[in-house]
Protein backbone atom coordinates (compact mmCIF):
# COMPACT_ATOMS: atom_id res chain seq x y z
CA UNK A 1 0.00 0.00 0.00
CA UNK A 2 1.58 3.29 -0.99
CA UNK A 3 2.04 6.06 1.47
CA UNK A 4 -0.65 8.46 0.38
CA UNK A 5 -3.42 5.87 0.25
CA UNK A 6 -2.56 4.50 3.67
CA UNK A 7 -2.50 8.02 5.10
CA UNK A 8 -5.88 8.42 3.46
CA UNK A 9 -7.17 5.37 5.33
CA UNK A 10 -6.30 6.93 8.66
CA UNK A 11 -7.81 10.27 7.71
CA UNK A 12 -10.92 8.50 6.48
CA UNK A 13 -11.26 6.61 9.74
CA UNK A 14 -10.73 9.82 11.69
CA UNK A 15 -13.55 11.48 9.75
CA UNK A 16 -15.80 8.47 10.31
CA UNK A 17 -15.27 8.85 14.05
CA UNK A 18 -15.96 12.58 14.02
CA UNK A 19 -19.08 12.01 11.90
CA UNK A 20 -20.32 9.29 14.23
CA UNK A 21 -19.78 11.62 17.20
CA UNK A 22 -21.67 14.44 15.50
CA UNK A 23 -24.59 12.24 14.49
CA UNK A 24 -25.09 10.72 17.93
CA UNK A 25 -24.44 14.02 19.71
CA UNK A 26 -27.96 15.14 18.75
CA UNK A 27 -29.27 12.77 21.41
CA UNK A 28 -26.77 13.52 24.20
CA UNK A 29 -27.57 16.04 26.95
CA UNK A 30 -25.97 17.36 30.13
CA UNK A 31 -27.84 16.93 33.42
CA UNK A 32 -27.58 19.10 36.52
CA UNK A 33 -28.90 16.88 39.30
CA UNK A 34 -26.02 16.83 41.75
CA UNK A 35 -23.52 19.30 43.19
CA UNK A 36 -20.57 20.46 41.10
CA UNK A 37 -20.16 18.03 38.24
CA UNK A 38 -22.94 17.63 35.66
CA UNK A 39 -23.60 14.15 34.36
CA UNK A 40 -24.65 13.01 30.90
CA UNK A 41 -27.95 11.70 29.60
CA UNK A 42 -29.62 10.51 26.41
CA UNK A 43 -32.92 11.67 24.91
CA UNK A 44 -34.51 8.22 24.70
CA UNK A 45 -38.19 9.01 24.03
CA UNK A 46 -39.77 12.30 22.95
CA UNK A 47 -39.67 14.39 26.10
CA UNK A 48 -37.83 11.77 28.17
CA UNK A 49 -34.16 11.56 29.05
CA UNK A 50 -32.46 8.48 30.48
CA UNK A 51 -29.55 8.90 32.91
CA UNK A 52 -27.32 6.82 35.17
CA UNK A 53 -29.36 6.60 38.39
CA UNK A 54 -26.30 7.01 40.63
CA UNK A 55 -25.67 10.50 39.21
CA UNK A 56 -29.16 11.80 40.09
CA UNK A 57 -28.68 13.08 43.62
CA UNK A 58 -31.76 15.24 43.96
CA UNK A 59 -35.36 15.08 42.84
CA UNK A 60 -36.08 18.78 42.49
CA UNK A 61 -34.52 21.62 40.55
CA UNK A 62 -33.08 19.35 37.91
CA UNK A 63 -32.12 21.04 34.69
CA UNK A 64 -31.02 19.59 31.39
CA UNK A 65 -28.83 21.24 28.76
CA UNK A 66 -29.94 20.21 25.29
CA UNK A 67 -27.59 19.75 22.30
CA UNK A 68 -28.59 23.19 20.97
CA UNK A 69 -27.44 24.78 24.20
CA UNK A 70 -30.85 25.51 25.72
CA UNK A 71 -31.29 24.75 29.40
CA UNK A 72 -34.70 23.28 30.32
CA UNK A 73 -36.19 22.06 33.61
CA UNK A 74 -36.88 18.37 34.14
CA UNK A 75 -38.60 16.17 36.71
CA UNK A 76 -37.63 12.71 37.90
CA UNK A 77 -40.12 10.18 36.52
CA UNK A 78 -38.56 7.20 38.26
CA UNK A 79 -35.37 5.32 38.94
CA UNK A 80 -34.25 1.70 39.00
CA UNK A 81 -31.11 1.32 41.13
CA UNK A 82 -30.81 -2.34 40.13
CA UNK A 83 -29.94 -1.38 36.53
CA UNK A 84 -28.55 2.08 37.44
CA UNK A 85 -31.08 3.78 35.16
CA UNK A 86 -33.28 6.77 35.84
CA UNK A 87 -35.77 8.63 33.63
CA UNK A 88 -36.28 12.38 33.62
CA UNK A 89 -39.23 14.05 31.95
CA UNK A 90 -38.87 17.27 30.00
CA UNK A 91 -41.66 19.80 29.96
CA UNK A 92 -41.72 20.01 26.17
CA UNK A 93 -41.76 16.81 24.21
CA UNK A 94 -38.25 17.15 22.86
CA UNK A 95 -38.09 15.20 19.61
CA UNK A 96 -35.76 12.28 19.02
CA UNK A 97 -32.86 13.24 16.83
CA UNK A 98 -30.31 10.48 17.21
CA UNK A 99 -30.48 7.03 15.68
CA UNK A 100 -30.60 3.96 17.92
CA UNK A 101 -28.97 0.65 17.11
CA UNK A 102 -28.82 -2.86 18.46
CA UNK A 103 -25.98 -3.71 20.82
CA UNK A 104 -26.09 -7.36 19.77
CA UNK A 105 -24.28 -6.32 16.57
CA UNK A 106 -21.20 -5.44 18.65
CA UNK A 107 -18.15 -7.68 18.59
CA UNK A 108 -15.11 -7.78 20.83
CA UNK A 109 -12.54 -5.44 19.27
CA UNK A 110 -15.07 -3.15 17.60
CA UNK A 111 -14.21 0.53 17.92
CA UNK A 112 -16.76 2.46 19.95
CA UNK A 113 -17.07 6.04 21.10
CA UNK A 114 -18.30 7.10 24.52
CA UNK A 115 -20.05 10.47 24.27
CA UNK A 116 -20.92 12.77 27.11
CA UNK A 117 -21.69 16.35 27.96
CA UNK A 118 -20.18 17.36 31.23
CA UNK A 119 -18.17 20.29 32.45
CA UNK A 120 -18.61 22.84 29.71
CA UNK A 121 -21.82 21.12 28.49
CA UNK A 122 -20.14 20.83 25.10
CA UNK A 123 -19.85 17.46 23.41
CA UNK A 124 -16.97 15.29 24.62
CA UNK A 125 -15.80 11.94 23.32
CA UNK A 126 -13.50 9.11 24.21
CA UNK A 127 -12.44 6.25 21.97
CA UNK A 128 -12.06 2.63 22.83
CA UNK A 129 -12.99 -0.88 21.89
CA UNK A 130 -15.53 -3.39 23.06
CA UNK A 131 -13.49 -5.29 25.61
CA UNK A 132 -15.75 -8.13 26.61
CA UNK A 133 -19.20 -9.40 25.64
CA UNK A 134 -21.50 -11.89 27.28
CA UNK A 135 -25.09 -12.98 27.58
CA UNK A 136 -27.79 -11.72 29.94
CA UNK A 137 -26.62 -11.09 33.47
CA UNK A 138 -27.94 -9.97 36.82
CA UNK A 139 -26.43 -7.02 38.70
CA UNK A 140 -25.57 -7.34 42.38
CA UNK A 141 -28.85 -5.58 43.15
CA UNK A 142 -30.86 -8.06 41.19
CA UNK A 143 -31.35 -6.02 38.02
CA UNK A 144 -31.72 -7.88 34.75
CA UNK A 145 -29.41 -6.67 31.96
CA UNK A 146 -29.91 -8.17 28.51
CA UNK A 147 -26.25 -8.30 27.50
CA UNK A 148 -22.91 -8.08 29.29
CA UNK A 149 -20.89 -5.31 27.65
CA UNK A 150 -17.57 -4.23 29.09
CA UNK A 151 -15.65 -1.41 27.46
CA UNK A 152 -11.99 -0.50 27.22
CA UNK A 153 -12.84 3.16 27.06
CA UNK A 154 -12.37 5.98 29.53
CA UNK A 155 -15.57 6.90 31.36
CA UNK A 156 -14.52 10.35 32.47
CA UNK A 157 -16.07 12.24 35.35
CA UNK A 158 -19.55 13.15 34.20
CA UNK A 159 -19.60 10.56 31.42
CA UNK A 160 -21.90 8.12 33.21
CA UNK A 161 -25.29 8.32 31.53
CA UNK A 162 -23.72 9.14 28.18
CA UNK A 163 -24.06 7.27 24.92
CA UNK A 164 -22.24 4.22 23.65
CA UNK A 165 -21.91 4.85 19.92
CA UNK A 166 -20.92 2.42 17.20
CA UNK A 167 -18.85 3.38 14.19
CA UNK A 168 -22.06 4.05 12.26
CA UNK A 169 -23.07 6.80 14.69
CA UNK A 170 -25.90 4.80 16.27
CA UNK A 171 -26.54 4.85 20.01
CA UNK A 172 -26.34 1.22 21.14
CA UNK A 173 -26.25 1.66 24.89
CA UNK A 174 -25.81 3.86 27.93
CA UNK A 175 -22.38 4.04 29.60
CA UNK A 176 -21.98 3.88 33.35
CA UNK A 177 -19.29 3.33 35.92
CA UNK A 178 -21.90 2.57 38.56
CA UNK A 179 -22.77 -1.03 37.75
CA UNK A 180 -19.59 -2.95 38.48
CA UNK A 181 -17.25 -1.18 40.90
CA UNK A 182 -16.07 1.71 38.72
CA UNK A 183 -15.49 -0.39 35.60
CA UNK A 184 -16.66 0.97 32.26
CA UNK A 185 -19.82 -0.91 31.40
CA UNK A 186 -22.67 -0.28 29.03
CA UNK A 187 -26.35 -1.04 29.47
CA UNK A 188 -27.49 -2.25 26.04
CA UNK A 189 -30.23 -0.33 24.23
CA UNK A 190 -32.65 -3.27 24.60
CA UNK A 191 -32.48 -3.05 28.40
CA UNK A 192 -32.78 0.73 28.38
CA UNK A 193 -35.90 0.52 26.17
CA UNK A 194 -37.52 -1.93 28.58
CA UNK A 195 -36.66 -0.06 31.78
CA UNK A 196 -37.52 3.38 30.37
CA UNK A 197 -40.96 2.22 29.26
CA UNK A 198 -41.69 0.72 32.67
CA UNK A 199 -40.38 3.74 34.58
CA UNK A 200 -42.45 6.09 32.42
CA UNK A 201 -45.55 3.95 32.93
CA UNK A 202 -45.23 3.11 36.63
CA UNK A 203 -42.52 5.30 38.12
CA UNK A 204 -40.58 2.31 39.32
CA UNK A 205 -39.71 -1.23 38.35
CA UNK A 206 -41.97 -3.71 40.09
CA UNK A 207 -39.92 -6.52 41.56
CA UNK A 208 -41.13 -9.69 43.11
CA UNK A 209 -40.03 -10.62 46.59
CA UNK A 210 -40.46 -13.28 49.23
CA UNK A 211 -39.45 -11.40 52.38
CA UNK A 212 -36.57 -13.63 53.50
CA UNK A 213 -32.85 -13.37 54.03
CA UNK A 214 -31.02 -16.48 52.93
CA UNK A 215 -27.60 -18.00 52.48
CA UNK A 216 -26.41 -20.97 50.41
CA UNK A 217 -25.45 -24.13 52.35
CA UNK A 218 -24.17 -27.41 50.94
CA UNK A 219 -26.44 -30.37 51.54
CA UNK A 220 -24.87 -33.46 53.16
CA UNK A 221 -24.60 -36.42 50.79
CA UNK A 222 -26.43 -38.78 53.16
CA UNK A 223 -29.40 -36.43 53.47
CA UNK A 224 -29.58 -35.88 49.72
CA UNK A 225 -29.57 -39.61 49.12
CA UNK A 226 -32.15 -40.29 51.82
CA UNK A 227 -34.56 -37.60 50.57
CA UNK A 228 -33.76 -38.04 46.91
CA UNK A 229 -32.72 -34.42 46.42
CA UNK A 230 -31.18 -33.59 43.07
CA UNK A 231 -29.51 -30.29 44.04
CA UNK A 232 -26.10 -30.05 45.76
CA UNK A 233 -27.02 -27.09 47.93
CA UNK A 234 -29.92 -25.32 49.51
CA UNK A 235 -30.63 -21.83 50.83
CA UNK A 236 -30.96 -21.57 54.59
CA UNK A 237 -33.42 -18.96 55.81
CA UNK A 238 -31.61 -16.58 58.18
CA UNK A 239 -34.38 -13.98 58.50
CA UNK A 240 -38.11 -13.80 57.83
CA UNK A 241 -39.88 -10.49 57.31
CA UNK A 242 -43.00 -10.33 59.49
CA UNK A 243 -46.15 -10.63 57.39
CA UNK A 244 -44.12 -10.97 54.18
CA UNK A 245 -45.01 -13.60 51.54
CA UNK A 246 -42.75 -16.27 53.12
CA UNK A 247 -44.04 -15.58 56.62
CA UNK A 248 -47.64 -15.90 55.48
CA UNK A 249 -46.82 -19.16 53.72
CA UNK A 250 -45.44 -20.64 56.94
CA UNK A 251 -41.71 -20.54 56.20
CA UNK A 252 -39.62 -20.48 59.41
CA UNK A 253 -36.14 -19.39 60.39
CA UNK A 254 -33.82 -22.32 59.80
CA UNK A 255 -35.78 -23.85 56.92
CA UNK A 256 -33.61 -24.72 53.94
CA UNK A 257 -35.05 -23.93 50.50
CA UNK A 258 -34.17 -26.78 48.15
CA UNK A 259 -36.48 -26.40 45.14
CA UNK A 260 -39.07 -24.17 43.51
CA UNK A 261 -41.73 -25.83 41.34
CA UNK A 262 -39.62 -29.01 41.37
CA UNK A 263 -36.44 -27.35 40.10
CA UNK A 264 -33.47 -27.56 42.52
CA UNK A 265 -31.88 -24.33 43.79
CA UNK A 266 -28.11 -23.85 43.90
CA UNK A 267 -27.75 -20.20 44.79
CA UNK A 268 -29.64 -17.00 45.43
CA UNK A 269 -29.64 -16.27 41.70
CA UNK A 270 -31.89 -19.24 41.13
CA UNK A 271 -34.42 -17.74 43.55
CA UNK A 272 -34.15 -14.24 42.12
CA UNK A 273 -34.81 -15.65 38.68
CA UNK A 274 -38.26 -16.65 39.93
CA UNK A 275 -38.98 -13.14 41.20
CA UNK A 276 -39.27 -11.40 37.83
CA UNK A 277 -42.06 -8.79 37.62
CA UNK A 278 -44.33 -11.18 35.67
CA UNK A 279 -44.36 -13.58 38.61
CA UNK A 280 -45.81 -11.07 41.05
CA UNK A 281 -49.04 -12.53 42.38
CA UNK A 282 -48.21 -16.05 41.19
CA UNK A 283 -48.01 -18.93 43.62
CA UNK A 284 -44.78 -20.92 43.67
CA UNK A 285 -44.49 -24.47 45.03
CA UNK A 286 -41.56 -24.08 47.40
CA UNK A 287 -39.83 -27.17 48.83
CA UNK A 288 -38.08 -26.67 52.17
CA UNK A 289 -35.97 -29.01 54.24
CA UNK A 290 -37.25 -28.97 57.82
CA UNK A 291 -36.22 -31.41 60.53
CA UNK A 292 -34.70 -33.79 58.00
CA UNK A 293 -37.88 -33.99 55.91
CA UNK A 294 -39.04 -32.10 52.82
CA UNK A 295 -42.13 -29.94 53.22
CA UNK A 296 -43.90 -28.28 50.32
CA UNK A 297 -45.41 -24.85 50.85
CA UNK A 298 -47.32 -22.63 48.43
CA UNK A 299 -45.84 -19.13 48.46
CA UNK A 300 -47.52 -16.21 46.72
CA UNK A 301 -44.91 -13.83 45.27
CA UNK A 302 -45.40 -10.29 46.57
CA UNK A 303 -44.26 -6.94 45.15
CA UNK A 304 -41.15 -5.46 46.75
CA UNK A 305 -42.27 -2.51 48.85
CA UNK A 306 -40.94 0.89 47.80
CA UNK A 307 -38.13 2.13 50.05
CA UNK A 308 -38.97 5.61 51.35
Amino acid sequence: MNESSSKGALWSFSNDLANAAEQASRGVVAIDARPRVPSSGIIWRPGAVVAAAHTIKREEEISITLPDGRSVPATLAGRDPSTDLAVLKLQDGEALAAEFGDASTLRVGHFVLALGRSGSKNLSASLGIVSSLGGPWRTWRGGQIDQFIRLDVAIYLGFSGGALVDSGGRIVGLNTSGLVGGMGMAVPAATVHRVVDELLAKGRIARGYLGVGMQPVPLPETLRAKLNLSGQAGLIIVSVEPDGPADRAGIFLGDVLVAIDGAPLDDIGDVQARLAPDNIGKTLRVSVLRSATVVELPVRVGERPRRS
Binding site: K7, A9, L17, A18, A125, L127, Y156
Partner: protein, 197 residues
Protein backbone atom coordinates in the same frame (compact mmCIF):
# COMPACT_ATOMS: atom_id res chain seq x y z
CA UNK B 1 -4.70 0.84 8.84
CA UNK B 2 -1.90 -0.33 11.11
CA UNK B 3 0.66 0.68 8.47
CA UNK B 4 -1.04 4.07 8.11
CA UNK B 5 -0.53 4.60 11.83
CA UNK B 6 3.11 3.54 11.63
CA UNK B 7 3.73 5.95 8.75
CA UNK B 8 2.01 8.82 10.54
CA UNK B 9 4.03 8.16 13.70
CA UNK B 10 7.23 8.05 11.69
CA UNK B 11 6.54 11.47 10.13
CA UNK B 12 5.79 12.98 13.47
CA UNK B 13 8.97 11.63 15.01
CA UNK B 14 10.98 13.58 12.47
CA UNK B 15 9.50 16.88 13.56
CA UNK B 16 9.78 16.06 17.26
CA UNK B 17 12.86 16.83 19.33
CA UNK B 18 13.94 16.08 22.87
CA UNK B 19 14.68 19.13 24.97
CA UNK B 20 16.85 18.75 28.05
CA UNK B 21 15.87 20.59 31.19
CA UNK B 22 17.29 21.30 34.59
CA UNK B 23 18.37 18.13 36.46
CA UNK B 24 15.92 15.39 35.49
CA UNK B 25 13.50 17.71 33.75
CA UNK B 26 12.96 18.26 30.09
CA UNK B 27 10.56 16.93 27.58
CA UNK B 28 9.80 17.25 23.90
CA UNK B 29 9.58 20.01 21.35
CA UNK B 30 8.27 20.59 17.81
CA UNK B 31 10.34 21.89 14.91
CA UNK B 32 8.27 24.87 13.84
CA UNK B 33 10.49 26.33 11.14
CA UNK B 34 13.19 24.72 8.96
CA UNK B 35 15.69 27.38 9.98
CA UNK B 36 15.89 26.05 13.51
CA UNK B 37 12.86 27.32 15.45
CA UNK B 38 11.62 24.86 18.07
CA UNK B 39 8.40 25.29 20.03
CA UNK B 40 8.06 23.66 23.45
CA UNK B 41 6.44 24.26 26.84
CA UNK B 42 7.76 27.01 29.08
CA UNK B 43 8.01 24.45 31.87
CA UNK B 44 10.19 22.21 29.68
CA UNK B 45 12.55 25.02 28.64
CA UNK B 46 13.84 25.70 32.14
CA UNK B 47 17.47 26.13 31.02
CA UNK B 48 18.59 29.14 28.99
CA UNK B 49 20.62 26.87 26.71
CA UNK B 50 18.98 23.47 26.60
CA UNK B 51 20.35 20.60 24.61
CA UNK B 52 18.08 19.71 21.68
CA UNK B 53 18.26 16.18 20.30
CA UNK B 54 16.97 15.62 16.78
CA UNK B 55 15.45 12.45 15.40
CA UNK B 56 18.52 11.63 13.38
CA UNK B 57 20.65 11.58 16.50
CA UNK B 58 22.21 15.05 16.19
CA UNK B 59 22.42 16.99 19.39
CA UNK B 60 22.38 20.78 19.08
CA UNK B 61 22.80 23.61 21.53
CA UNK B 62 19.62 25.66 21.79
CA UNK B 63 18.89 29.19 23.01
CA UNK B 64 15.59 30.14 24.56
CA UNK B 65 14.52 33.28 22.66
CA UNK B 66 11.03 33.69 24.08
CA UNK B 67 9.20 32.26 27.07
CA UNK B 68 5.61 32.75 28.24
CA UNK B 69 4.85 30.83 31.43
CA UNK B 70 1.23 31.97 31.34
CA UNK B 71 0.67 30.20 28.03
CA UNK B 72 3.25 27.51 28.94
CA UNK B 73 5.05 28.12 25.65
CA UNK B 74 8.69 28.76 24.81
CA UNK B 75 10.62 29.30 21.57
CA UNK B 76 14.08 27.76 21.27
CA UNK B 77 16.49 28.48 18.42
CA UNK B 78 19.08 26.00 17.23
CA UNK B 79 21.75 26.56 14.64
CA UNK B 80 20.60 24.46 11.74
CA UNK B 81 19.38 24.85 8.20
CA UNK B 82 16.74 22.90 6.37
CA UNK B 83 15.25 21.01 9.25
CA UNK B 84 12.12 18.95 8.75
CA UNK B 85 9.40 21.25 10.07
CA UNK B 86 5.84 20.57 11.17
CA UNK B 87 2.80 21.09 8.97
CA UNK B 88 0.45 23.13 11.12
CA UNK B 89 -3.36 23.01 11.20
CA UNK B 90 -5.49 25.60 13.04
CA UNK B 91 -7.29 24.26 16.11
CA UNK B 92 -10.69 25.65 15.17
CA UNK B 93 -11.07 23.17 12.32
CA UNK B 94 -10.81 20.21 14.69
CA UNK B 95 -13.87 18.07 15.42
CA UNK B 96 -14.72 16.13 18.56
CA UNK B 97 -14.08 12.46 17.88
CA UNK B 98 -11.25 13.00 15.38
CA UNK B 99 -8.18 10.82 15.81
CA UNK B 100 -5.13 12.49 17.31
CA UNK B 101 -1.59 11.24 17.75
CA UNK B 102 0.84 12.33 20.42
CA UNK B 103 4.56 11.86 20.02
CA UNK B 104 7.14 12.49 22.68
CA UNK B 105 9.56 10.95 25.06
CA UNK B 106 7.35 9.65 27.87
CA UNK B 107 9.42 8.17 30.65
CA UNK B 108 12.51 8.61 28.48
CA UNK B 109 11.35 6.40 25.60
CA UNK B 110 12.19 8.64 22.67
CA UNK B 111 9.69 8.80 19.89
CA UNK B 112 6.90 6.92 21.64
CA UNK B 113 3.45 7.38 20.16
CA UNK B 114 0.01 7.39 21.69
CA UNK B 115 -3.35 7.57 19.91
CA UNK B 116 -6.75 8.78 20.95
CA UNK B 117 -9.45 11.20 19.92
CA UNK B 118 -10.30 14.85 20.42
CA UNK B 119 -12.32 14.86 23.64
CA UNK B 120 -13.18 18.54 23.79
CA UNK B 121 -12.20 21.94 22.44
CA UNK B 122 -11.81 25.00 24.64
CA UNK B 123 -11.92 28.36 22.89
CA UNK B 124 -10.61 31.64 24.22
CA UNK B 125 -13.40 33.56 25.90
CA UNK B 126 -12.26 36.86 24.39
CA UNK B 127 -12.49 36.06 20.68
CA UNK B 128 -13.52 32.42 20.36
CA UNK B 129 -10.28 31.27 18.70
CA UNK B 130 -9.04 27.90 19.87
CA UNK B 131 -6.98 27.86 23.00
CA UNK B 132 -6.92 24.31 24.37
CA UNK B 133 -7.46 20.90 22.89
CA UNK B 134 -8.50 18.15 25.29
CA UNK B 135 -7.52 14.74 24.06
CA UNK B 136 -8.49 11.27 25.22
CA UNK B 137 -4.87 10.14 24.96
CA UNK B 138 -2.60 8.59 27.57
CA UNK B 139 0.29 10.97 28.11
CA UNK B 140 3.25 10.84 30.45
CA UNK B 141 5.56 13.67 31.59
CA UNK B 142 8.05 13.31 28.70
CA UNK B 143 5.30 14.13 26.20
CA UNK B 144 5.23 17.76 27.36
CA UNK B 145 6.17 20.19 24.63
CA UNK B 146 5.69 17.59 21.92
CA UNK B 147 3.16 17.54 19.09
CA UNK B 148 -0.48 16.52 19.10
CA UNK B 149 -1.30 15.80 15.46
CA UNK B 150 -4.30 14.79 13.38
CA UNK B 151 -4.65 11.68 11.24
CA UNK B 152 -2.83 13.43 8.40
CA UNK B 153 0.18 14.19 10.54
CA UNK B 154 -0.57 17.91 10.82
CA UNK B 155 0.23 19.39 14.21
CA UNK B 156 -2.90 20.75 15.90
CA UNK B 157 -1.56 21.47 19.38
CA UNK B 158 1.42 21.28 21.73
CA UNK B 159 1.02 18.80 24.61
CA UNK B 160 1.14 20.64 27.89
CA UNK B 161 -0.26 18.64 30.80
CA UNK B 162 -2.58 15.93 32.01
CA UNK B 163 -5.73 17.04 33.84
CA UNK B 164 -8.44 14.68 35.07
CA UNK B 165 -7.02 11.85 33.00
CA UNK B 166 -7.24 13.92 29.84
CA UNK B 167 -4.34 15.34 27.87
CA UNK B 168 -4.46 19.11 27.63
CA UNK B 169 -2.66 20.65 24.66
CA UNK B 170 -2.14 24.25 23.55
CA UNK B 171 -3.83 24.86 20.20
CA UNK B 172 -1.58 25.97 17.34
CA UNK B 173 -3.66 29.19 17.10
CA UNK B 174 -2.29 30.10 20.52
CA UNK B 175 1.27 29.26 19.40
CA UNK B 176 0.90 31.66 16.44
CA UNK B 177 -0.27 34.38 18.81
CA UNK B 178 2.68 33.73 21.10
CA UNK B 179 5.13 33.93 18.20
CA UNK B 180 3.72 37.16 16.76
CA UNK B 181 3.52 38.82 20.18
CA UNK B 182 7.06 37.89 21.10
CA UNK B 183 8.37 39.01 17.71
CA UNK B 184 10.39 35.84 17.22
CA UNK B 185 9.29 35.36 13.66
CA UNK B 186 8.87 38.27 11.31
CA UNK B 187 6.93 36.19 8.87
CA UNK B 188 3.87 33.95 9.41
CA UNK B 189 4.27 30.31 10.51
CA UNK B 190 6.20 27.74 8.48
CA UNK B 191 4.45 27.43 5.16
CA UNK B 192 2.51 24.25 4.62
CA UNK B 193 4.87 21.95 2.84
CA UNK B 194 2.48 19.33 1.56
CA UNK B 195 3.38 15.69 2.12
CA UNK B 196 6.55 15.12 4.07
CA UNK B 197 8.81 12.79 2.11
Amino acid sequence: MASALAIAAEHLRRITVQVSGARRGGGSGVIWHPKGLIITNAHVASLRHPSVALWDGRSLRGSVVARDPGRDLAAVLVRAENLFAATVRPGNSLRVGELVLAIGSPWGFAGAAAIGVVHGLIPRTSDGTMQWVQADVRLAPGNSGGPLADAQGRVVAINSMVAGGLALAIATDEVERFLSESGVLNQPRAATRGEAA
